[in-house]
């Protein structure tokens, strides 16, 4: 058993080296397939980041009546911060609201004159609420109907966000479905490429397989070097792809952050943290597909 196993490993390495061009083509095909799989993964990460980037910018502004006391504002703020759906609550006092308004309209003398005429701040305090996700906004809006401070609220600026929330939801769902569909198509293509690559490689070896059988080799003895070779192909393909993916990701990561207001997508960090499951799963999947294809394709050549 041990002797046979060692021989199978030796035959696999021998075949790999002595059929160098065939091995090179096979590994290249497998590597190209994996590149598309990793490209899909990158797209998925970027899409997820884009959705969360947009969701982070959704906020609900709640305008309180002028003269609402600081305690009541703090109470409302505390209540909202206690909600699991709320990520952040920012309190803008009446004075801060006035200062911001003045700053925004610094060039408009008419507006500034009008403000002087009113005297003091015509604005009430404001709460700016950020949800954890787009899905949380309706719940937050609903919670603002709490009788404790419902009557203090002058206006809730949410109507314009409703549309955004719905659009982001629809986009997120579309992106998710598109991702699943694309992944399924790519997986199917990948399986077909691997299957055909293996079939071509075995077609080249068909006479050798018959000869091995005619001199008394068992099916297992003939098959095992090919299966080991499959693992070698897969290992090399994954190694090459990892060698391509890391530098490419490192190169595009800073460029992508420009699209997200300087905020990093974390692509490189994601690959650095998860390299083992990412490439481990790819190696396992590729090896399994390879071995199943080899076993299926070999069946007819073993009937000697």
């Amino acid at each position: 058993m041990l002797t046979s196993s060692i021989r199978s490993i030796r035959f696999a390495f021998q075949s790999f080296g002595r059929n160098f061009w065939l091995s090179l083509i096979t590994v290249s095909m497998l590597a190209l397939t994996l590149v598309t799989v990793n490209l899909l993964l990158v797209l998925q990460i970027v899409a997820t980041k884009a959705v969360s980037f947009a969701e982070e910018r959704i906020e609900v502004s709640v305008y309180f009546h002028s003269g609402t006391t600081e305690d009541r504002i703090k109470g409302a703020s505390g209540y909202l911060q206690g909600l699991p759906q709320v990520r952040d609550v920012q309190v803008i006092t009446a004075e801060e609201a006035l200062a911001r308004f003045k700053e925004r309209h610094a060039a408009d003398a008419t507006i500034l004159a009008a403000l002087d005429e009113v005297g003091g701040s015509p604005f009430g305090p404001t709460l700016v609420i950020k949800g954890k996700s787009a899905d949380d906004i309706p719940l937050i809006l609903e919670s603002l109907d709490n009788p404790q401070f419902r009557d203090d609220i002058r206006e809730k600026d949410f109507s314009s966000y409703e549309d955004i929330v719905n659009r982001i939801r629809a986009t997120t769902e579309r992106v998710r479905l598109f991702g699943i569909g694309l992944a399924a198509v790519f997986l199917l293509i990948a399986i077909l490429i691997v299957f055909n690559t293996v079939r071509i490689a075995l077609f080249v070896h068909r006479e050798e397989i018959a000869i091995m059988k005619l001199v008394g080799a068992t099916n297992a003895f003939v098959r095992s070097p090919f299966l080991i070779e499959c693992f070698l192909y897969s290992l090399l393909a994954v190694g090459i792809v990892a060698g391509i993916v890391f530098p490419v990701v490192a190169a595009i990561d800073p460029g992508l952050s420009a699209f997200f207001g300087g905020e990093s997508v974390g692509l490189l960090v994601y690959f650095q943290k998860n390299w083992l499951p990412i490439f481990g799963i790819q190696l396992a999947a590729l090896t399994v597909i390879n071995m199943v294809s080899t076993t299926l394709a070999m069946r007819k050549y073993l009937k000697v």
């Binding site: 059988k213 001199v215 008394g216 080799a217 099916n219 003895f221």
Partner: protein, 226 residues
Amino acid sequence: MIHFKNVIKTYPPNIVGIRNVSLHIRPGEFVSIVGQSGTGKSTLAKLMFAEETATSGQIAIGGWDITRISQHDVPMLRRQIGVVFQDFKLLPRKTVFENVAFALEVSGTPNRRIKEIVPQVLKIVNLHDKGDRYPKQLSGGEQQRVVVARSLVHRPKILVADEPTGNLDAIHTHEIIDLLKKINEFGTTVVLVTHNREVVNALKKRVITVDDGQITSDVEEGRYKI
């Protein structure tokens, strides 16, 4: 040693390869099976090492009934029979040494034994200095000698040679036939399938003539007559 009883072999849809053949080859015999192309002599050889299975009848090799041999047992049978083919059937990406060693490796022979036996067998076929060559670097005659070495290496009791000189010139044909005779002298039963008149006539051994899937003559010191 080799026993065929009422063996019939048909191929789909309804092509007859062998018609009701019965024969008995004794241990240590040198038997030539002759006949024109397509008469069924190669089918007879293939039935002996289970490359084909009989449609009906009974085949026994060394007392082992292989008529309905299972796929699992076929390798065991082939390790006990040496086979020489017309088209050599050498592994193109293995050296001469590795090709011969492969017949031992499949049966789990230890490396130490392989390193002892293979050079000895290569010496018998006069290829001891060409062990590291690949088949394509050898002449036809040399390739056929490698095949003979491979078929001998596990000391088979039976050697089946299916048109071994079909692709060789006169000189190489003579070399191969001399080798087969030498192997036979050591006690191995040799079954030679051929349509080479000169070879058969020079051998002066038992000749079985096959025509249209049937044995038409079986003569102890026979000659080629069709």
